[in-house]
Structures are given as C-alpha cells and as structure tokens.
Symmetry: C2
Subunit: 466 residues, 2 copies
C-alpha cells in the first residue's frame, strides 16, 4: 500500500472512509483516560498535522507500544479517514494498525522537543531543525520561490545558463574572495622568486570562488538574448550580521536589447509574479509565519503586488538624507548610502520598498553604463525593508571605447578582461542585468530577521558545521 | 516598439503583414545583382534564422550600410512579415528600416565565422561559442532539461533544498577534494606543532568544496520526506577524459519511506518524463543535433521512453563479464566494473541502458543499506551508452547499530559524523536517494561525446579560463 502525503488529505484527494497508509513523524501524543490516544502526525508535505486516533480496543499491544511513543518517533500508520468531531481539525485518521519504525533515544533530551526553541539554538542543530514547524514552513516557501522564479523566467523566454563557480575573475573587485586550491598547503611549491607557484595548482593558476557570474552571463546574453543563472556565490567577508552569509544563492539575469527602465519593470513584474504564486500556494505557511513573527506577511506581499515600487534618483535621495539630523550630506555623494540610511528611507521616509537609480559613477563598478550627464551610471538598487538591498542591477556599458575608459579610471587591467571586451568588439548590443540575493528574498517572504534561518546549512564566519 | 522574439514568428504568433521589430545578430548575408540583400538573422530564441529581405530601393544608404554587414553584426530591424516564396523558409521579413547596433572589428578574423569549427577550437572561445548553432541548440536543451527536472519533482511533491557547497564533510572519502581558504597562502599561520593553523582560517577549520550534498539532504528527507538539490559539485581529479569535469552540476534526490525498487522506478519515471517533454519542446534542436552528430537522437529518446530499463544483479554482470575474453573474473568481485566493461555491457551485450544493482558491500560507501545476504548492498547504478554511469543511488542504512558497523569496517571515524548519526538516533526511517550527473544527461540528450561541450564554461585540469 502506497502512503498518502498528508497534504493530499487536506486537499481532499482522499475520500472519507477510505483506508489509507500514512508515514511520518510524531509531533505530540496525548491520551484520554478511556484508552484512547491522539497523535499529531506530520510528514513535511504541509504544515498541518494529521490527528491520528488510537484506540486500545483496536490496536494490539496498545499500552506497551503506543504509550511509549514520544515526539520524534517515526511511524507507519494504516487507518480510515474520518471527519473529526473536534473543532481543531477537519479530518482525523482512525488507526487500525500502527508500526513503530524508529524510536527516539533518550526522549527527555531529544533536541527537537515540542517546547519553543530560540533560532540561535536551532542553528546549533541545523540537521534537525527542519523538524520544527517554523523551519518546515520556511523550507516549503524557499523551494516554491525558486520554482516560481524559474516559471516566470521560462514564460518570459529566459534560458538558464550555469555560470562557473571556480573562477579567475573578480567581478566586484572590492569583495574578498575565497581561494580554491588542490595544492598541499603543508608543502607549497615555490617559484625561483620565492612566491607560491600556482602554475602547479590544479588549474595552473590561482583560482577563487565566484562572487558573481555576471560577466559570463553577459557572454551568453550576447548570443541567446535572454539568460539567467541561479547558483551559489561566495564572499569571504568576516562580517557577522543578520543579512550576510559567506555562501549564498543568487539569481542573476542578463538580457540584450534591454535598457534600465525595462530592467526595472522586469524585476518588478518578476517579484509580483512570484509573490502572487506564493500567496496562492503557501497561504497556510504564510499565516503561520505571520502569527509566529508578529508581521502580517500576507498583507506585506499583497501590498507589494498592488503597488508600484517607488523609483528615486540617487541625487534626490541625497537631498532627502541631507535633511536628516547629524548627517554630513556633503560626503554622501562620494559613497553609497549606509545601512542606517537605507533603513531611514525604506522604513521611515517612504515606508515602502524603493528603487534608487542613477548612482554617481565613482561608487559603482566599471561595467555600468555611463549616463549622458557623464556623472552618473544607469544603475538600480531595490531596497526592501527591513533587509535592505535585495536586487542590484544596471544597464551595462556596451561601447568598447567607453568601457575601456571606465576600466582605466578604476585601475582595472584590460589584460584580464580581453575575453569580456570581445563582447564589445563583435556585434555589441545594449544590455542590462541584475543580481538578486535569494536568501534576502526568502527572509522577506517568511518574515525572518536573519538570513541564517532561511538557508538549510548557513556558512558564516567560524561556522561551516554539518 | 517592443522587439518580437524570432521564435514567436515561427510559432505563428505574428500575423502576415504585421509590422514588427526584431533584434539580434547576423548569421550571414548574401546579395543579388538586383539591389536586394538577404540576411539570415538570429536572436537565440530558437535555432531557425529569420530571412530578412533588404531592398536598395527601400533602405537608405543601402550600399554603404548594408553591403558592409558581415557575420556577427548586431542589428535592429523593422519590417513587415511576409510569406516567403523561397522553399527554404516559410516566412521572411521585408525590412523597412535597419539600424546597425554593433559591428565586427576585423571581420576576416572574427572568431565565429560561418565556416565549420572544431569543438576543440570552440572551447578556446567559450565566451563566443554560444553564437554557433550547435552550442545554441545545446544551451536551449540544457536549460529545458533543468526546467523539466524541477517540474517533474514539483509534481511529485519534492522540495528543493539547497545543500552547502563549502563543507567539512567528505562523503565519498575516495574523491579528491578542493580546499577552500581565506588564509594568505604566502604567510600561513603555523601551530606550535608546526602544522598549518586552520583555526585561523575563515571557518575556523579546514574546509573543502563539496563532492555531494547527500548527507545534508538525508537530514531534510528525515523531516520533509521528499527532497532534492540541484547544484555544483567538485572533484579535484587530474583525469582528462570525455566524461569528467572538475566542476559539474548534480541533481541529488532523497526520499524517506522509499526502498531501492521504488527509487529505481522513480528515476526511470523522471528520465522518461524529461525526455518526453524535451522531444515535445525541442524537436527542432534535436533534429539539428541528430544531423550534426550522425546520431538519431530523437529515436534514441523515443526508444528510452517506451522501453523498460533492463535491471541486472551485479553478480549476474560478473557472470556475463567472466565470459569475455581476457577477463579475470575472479578479481571482478573485488572492485566496481571498469569503463571498458561498462561499454561492453551497454553497447554490445545489452545494447541498451541498464541498471546494475546490489553491488558487493566492499566496493560501495558506508551509508548504503546492507542486504539480507550480508554481502551486498541495496545499490543501483544506471549506465547509459556511451557515457556510462549517469545515476548512482542506493537505499541508505537507517539502523544505527548497522551503520556504525559499516563505518568501523571502512575505517571511518564516528566523531566526524555524529550529526549524521543523529538521523538514526531520532525517529529513523528507511530512505533512499540518488545522484544524477547532469552534464552526462545533457550529453546523452544532445548526442555530444564530450561533457565539455554541454557546460558553458568547463573547468578541467589546467583550465579555468573565462
């Protein structure tokens, strides 16, 4: 007999009275004095637990077997689906046969007891924390967010391109990168000049973990028109914050013949599509997370869907910020806005998600397209409260002479980018793209304050356990 | 005016006579003596090129502008869609306006001229090779294969779980791993005992690039029941073969309450679903690749869909192989079958894809479930000609005492796997899973002999360019 996922019961794919098998784990057990036990049972297919009714009269060995069942036990249960007379649930399973598949050693010290655990504690048991309702809900939403991103992009003609993880290119320049090597670190080969001889390393040169696949993606956009990648990216920044991970997933998109305003429209359309589908498919999990976090996530997403994202010019942002107390507006133009300023803009001034666009060229990378004013670039940052930047993108400089000038101004060696410059030498086209920090999107969608809750096994400074 | 993807024209989403804009690149140009030029134009949305008709009478500056256009130029074209009188194509675009967006410097030396290039040559220009028909077709098929894998697993209730890339765990033990570090290799911190002090490294210990996310995935299967991951994996093997990459993508799947025979059925169903959808959606690309490779790929996929995969016991494979000439069958039992033997089985003996199952425990990892015979494990390898193993999987050992015994026998320290053993301590369940080498699947689906053709920027020994 094939087991029925619990979600199918609540989606009414099983008839009342039908004999079915369910497999999964015990959330909790309570007993009445009348020789009846109630087991709350889950299998991860949905948030809801199935109430299993166990009667001493029916189940053999009831006292020894059933009364020793605790939270975390795995069971195989056969029974008849019935409408519940209790108000708490619509259905219940009247069990006719229960098999204990796996017990819990030392139940009193089971790491995932049904009492409330802090997020900090749960991170220490990341291999077990998906057994909690909250991490279960986040996992289902995370999975669906990825799925709906793929669906949206497929419907819009985008091709998925796997950009490389091991790379010799440093796109962001300013980011710290992890080194990848197959050399024996205890016995490094040394050149005549006394430096490490990376020509002996696996790839014949020094290699890193990617911080972005953008440049590779641009190569594919310049032949297949609309492309994207979804993969892990890495930053060796020793920061220990709520919004940074050393290893995180990024959606990167690149499209030819697309300008900044079309890119902004596309990113807005994509987010609205994804949120709409999440609301339709994961309402139960969103309601639960809203209750747990005290944030009305459904309202937040609904508001996002029906509103236009506010677009602000960077120079107007500076004007707004200069009116803030204690703010040195004169220095603002020289650097990008700070986290504190982001918070002020999204949570106070606009009280909304905003797109800041057309930043001064000095604070943005060489590949962004210079605007006609010769001072700003065709950039866009989407800030969503409370996590800040969730998307960063721009139109790319497609003119060979101009991108060379940018590189020179920023002290970037052309030699390392000859292949990238080929894209401007041979049939160059206007093109634009963005990167979306996926864990921040999941955090926004689930109401989590810390991105460590939304990736299964977070990698942060001094932590690569599991 | 928004550009129309060329695929929409061939899918008849544009009416005859309609005025449209197309954007893309020139595949070739030929001129008649009558002041008419024909441009074959592509945008990557499909294999087919759009024939653009350019008349001197209509297009201003025809001689100077149009007659200097060569392969690789990017153009923006406005024109009226028309039925073609030529036999080669159904539609053509009668252009009324053509804008040269990007030219080609030094056209005679354009790396992607329309002449035939070898795969070896194209790998040297990986940033431009997606401009060829063949790599374009492979790219579209690769993207769709990923999409249909996600669709199949979603329809079957599987959740996508992102397993970590940076890890301290070595799943396969035998595989060579890349080391990941943020230490300054020219100035490594040394402990009092004279060893490298990895406690000073980013994660506080020695870390590697993952060879498999299986163990992490098992943790999630033991709470969410059905899970999978799709991400990059790494092997620092210095092998230089047609079927190995240092960086490759892997689909890994893990499901609780699933046994070996159900796992085999699932993998077969998945491949059939994916091939069926590829046949329906990418017929044009498959036909083209069949012509180019001399392999009837459509027939190959159709045959796969209608056949049952042949399942053979490992010990029967040994009997078959022992009948081979020059084969030392007595030694066979001690190790897994070789590439040469794989070829013999799939291409000669069975002339089909086969699943070999129930291997001797000595040649398989500690986590595989011991069969009742105490000699073999519940394993399965799917071999597809000509690339060999495409899927490897097993039922996992879920019994705490048994997996501990396996570890001891294989000399694996329990200390490093305490978290993994927790899955057997707390509500353990029978479960099974497999890993699918994605590039081999793409190679099979596209008729490519070398996996370097099917990943955009291949990483192999001494090669991490682009």
């Amino acid at each position: 007999m094939i087991a029925v996922p619990i979600v199918d019961i609540f989606n009414e794919k099983v008839k009342i009275g039908e004999k079915i098998k369910v497999t999964g784990w015990v959330k909790s057990r309570r007993d009445s004095k009348l020789g009846i036990s109630f087991i709350d049972f889950y299998d991860g297919s949905c948030l809801k637990t199935l109430q299993v009714v166990v009667k001493e009269k029916i189940i053999q060995n009831y006292r020894k077997k059933i009364l020793s069942i605790t939270t975390g036990f795995s069971l195989e249960i056969i029974g008849n689906l019935s409408l519940s007379i209790g108000k708490e649930q619509k259905f219940e399973l009247l069990s006719t046969d229960i098999k204990v598949v796996g017990n819990v050693k030392d139940p009193e010290n089971y790491p995932i007891s049904i009492k409330k655990h802090s997020f900090e504690y749960l991170r220490k048991v990341s291999h077990l924390r998906s057994r909690t309702n909250i991490i279960g809900s986040i996992s289902r939403i995370r999975s669906d967010l990825i799925y709906f991103i793929h669906s949206f992009l497929k419907e819009n003609g985008y091709l998925l391109v796997s950009t490389p993880i091991i790379t010799t290119v440093d796109t962001e320049k300013s980011s710290k990168m992890f080194c990848v090597s197959s050399l024996d670190l205890n016995n490094l080969p040394i050149t005549k000049l006394g430096k490490i001889d990376f020509s002996k390393d696996f790839f014949g040169k020094k290699t890193f973990l990617t911080v972005s696949g953008q440049l590779n993606l641009e190569a594919y956009a310049c032949s297949l028109s609309k492309v994207y990648s979804f993969g892990p990216t890495f930053r060796a920044e020793p920061s220990n914050t709520r919004k940074h991970l050393a290893e995180f997933w990024m959606l990167e998109l690149e499209a030819s013949f697309l300008d900044l305003s079309e890119l902004i429209q596309l990113s807005e359309n994509m987010l609205k599509y994804v949120f709409k589908n999440i609301l339709e498919n994961r309402e139960e999990d969103l309601l639960f997370l809203s209750k747990k976090t005290g944030i009305n996530i459904l309202k937040r997403l609904e508001k996002f869907i029906i509103s236009d994202i506010i677009q602000v010019e960077f120079h107007d942002v500076i004007k707004i910020l200069s009116r803030m107390e204690n703010n040195l507006s004169s220095k603002l133009i020289e650097k990008d806005i700070s986290e504190k300023q982001e918070k002020y803009l999204t949570e106070k001034y606009f009280n909304n998600s905003i797109i800041i666009k057309n930043h001064p060229k000095g604070i943005k990378p060489f590949y962004m397209k210079l605007n006609e004013d010769q001072k700003t670039v065709a950039s866009m940052d989407l800030l969503i409260p409370p996590l800040g930047e969730i998307i960063g993108g721009s139109q790319r400089e497609e003119i060979y002479s101009k991108i060379c000038k940018n590189m020179k101004e920023k002290g970037i060696k052309k030699k390392n980018y000859e292949w990238y410059l080929d894209l401007r030498r041979y049939g160059t086209v206007p093109h634009s793209g963005f990167g979306l920090g996926f864990e921040r999107l999941v955090a926004y969608t689930t109401g989590m304050k810390n991105v460590r809750e939304v990736i299964p096994f977070p990698r942060t400074i001094r932590n690569a356990k599991f």
